[in-house]
Amino acid sequence: MLVSVYRYNPETDDAPYMQDIHIDIPGGKDIMVLDLLQLLKDKDSTLGYRRSCREGVCGSDGMNMNGKNGLACITPLSEVVESDKLVLRPLPGLPVIRDLVVDMTQFYTQYEKIKPYLINETPAPAIERLQSPVEREELDGLYECILCACCSTACPSFWWNPDKFIGPSGLLQAYRFLADSRDTATSERLADLDDPFSVFRCHGIMNCVSVCPKGLNPTKAIGKIRNMLLSQAT
C-alpha cells in the first residue's frame, strides 16, 4: 500500500512536504496505524511521532489519518485506508514541532483556563467528600477525556481562535467540574465563561463528536454549560 506522510524538520527543511512510501503489510494483516508507523520508522528512522501506551489511554498519538483525526494506536487500517492509500498528517491547526509531532501549548493553556480541579472552600471532612451514585453518574461521559486534542484540532472555531475559544476538550472538562456535586465554585466558573468567545464560539457543527476516539460528546456538554448560564441569568 501507499502511505503519504507529512514531513517537516525545521532544522533542515525550508517547508513541509509529503513523503510517499510504498510498504507491504506483513501477512496482509489488519494492523493498527501505529504499527504501520513503526514499520515506516524501521525503513526511515528520522520519522518523528509521539506514542506511549499503544492502547488508547494516554492520548499521545493523535493524528490526522486520511482527513480524520484519531488515535493511531486504536485505529485499524481497514477503518481509514481508501484505495490502498493512507495520508498521515499532524493534528490540524497546531504548530508543528517535527513531522507528526505538534506543539500542544495552546491546547493546554485553554485547559488550564477552566481550572481543571475541584474547588471547595468548605472544611474538609474527616475521610472524604461523598457523592451519591446519582451524583456520580453525572460525571459519566465527561471524566473519560484523555486530552488527546483530536476534538479541538478538528474544530474550525478552535483553528481560528485558539487563544480565545476554550475548545471542545476544555469545555467538556469545564462541564465535568460544573456538574460535580463536590465543587462549590459553580458561579465563578460560569462567570469566567460568559464572554463571546470562551463557550459561544461553538456553532454546534459536531466535528468533535465525530472524531472523539473515546466516543464522548463535547457538543452536548457545551449545550449544558449554555443552559446553566441561561438558568442563572435574569
Partner: protein, 115 residues
Amino acid sequence: MVTSITSFGRSGLYDWMIQRVTAVALAAYTIFLMGYMLFTPELDYQQWKELFECTAMRIFTLLALLSLAAHAWIGMWSISTDYIKPTGIRFLFQSACGLLTFIYVVWGIQILWGV
C-alpha cells in the same frame, strides 16, 4: 474570560439570546409574507400598499428590520473575528458593517413610512 468591546452586548450569552430571538422574529415575518403572497394570488400594487399602510404591519416590518440588523451585526462580527486577524483592518470592516446596517435601518424606516 475574554474581554471584547466590539461585540453586540459584550456578553456571549446575551449575543446568543439576541441571535435566537431575532431569528424567530425573522422566521415569523418570512412565513407571514410567504403566506400572504400564497393566499393573495391576484396581488396588485394597491393591495400591497394597503398591507404596508396598516400600523400592525409597519410595527411587524420594523421589528423584522431591527431583528435583521442585530442578527446581521452579530453574524458579521463573528465572521470578522474568525477571519480578519489584523486589529486595524478588522475594526475598519466592523465599522463599515455597522455603518451599512445603520443606513439600511434608517432607509428602511423611510421607505416603510413613505408608503
